[in-house]
Symmetry: C2
Subunit: 110 residues, 2 copies
């Protein structure tokens, strides 16, 4: 088939998977790092920092925006991107909860 069985999973897991998917490509991680570093927002500078074409970067930005992790505001001719604080913290929180739920076994499990 190809489409994931979106039903039958919890909203939390679907949401978490959506955030994880946004991070699931090195280019998008790199874009987020650029946005983290520059703090203030940028646009086509991202294209210059990455070895990807403008259209490809634009597509990655779209995916990050659709996942909610970033927002882009039009500022005249340019578009200014930055981390979306709320979603960022929510993703951080959800991932933290998942990962901190692990309690190592005393003896080897397997």
């Amino acid at each position: 088939m190809g489409a994931s069985k979106t039903a039958a999973f919890t909203d939390t897991d679907i949401h978490l998977a959506k955030y994880a998917k946004a991070l699931a490509h090195p280019a998008r991680v790199a874009i987020l790092r650029i946005l983290l570093e520059r703090r203030a927002c940028i646009c086509g500078d991202i294209v210059e920092e990455l070895p990807l074409s403008q259209s490809t970067v634009s597509q990655h930005l779209k995916e990050l925006k659709e996942a909610g992790l970033i927002q882009g505001d039009i500022d005249g001719k340019k578009v200014c991107y930055c981390i979306d604080a709320r979603a960022w913290k929510q993703a951080q929180q959800m991932l933290h909860v998942l990962f901190s739920d692990y309690k190592p076994c005393d003896t080897n499990c397997c």
Copy 2:
């Protein structure tokens, strides 16, 4: 094209993206939660808990294993899966570093 430009990105970003990709599907998040909850390892019980066929679950398990997040040991007829402590902590750490690098702007950035 379709293949990601693996070169040209940092090892860290590639590694982080690999972990994120493992989490990028609700079924795999659900599998990890099952493994987290049961602590001790399981196998075909996962198939019973999810609305997916055995072969599909097996494929998801393979991806989690290839990402390093879980390990599976053969125990007679059954196969026993569990979280891989080292990779789990590394993924947690890498995600933590990324997410905690965000400093909200005083005034709205965009």
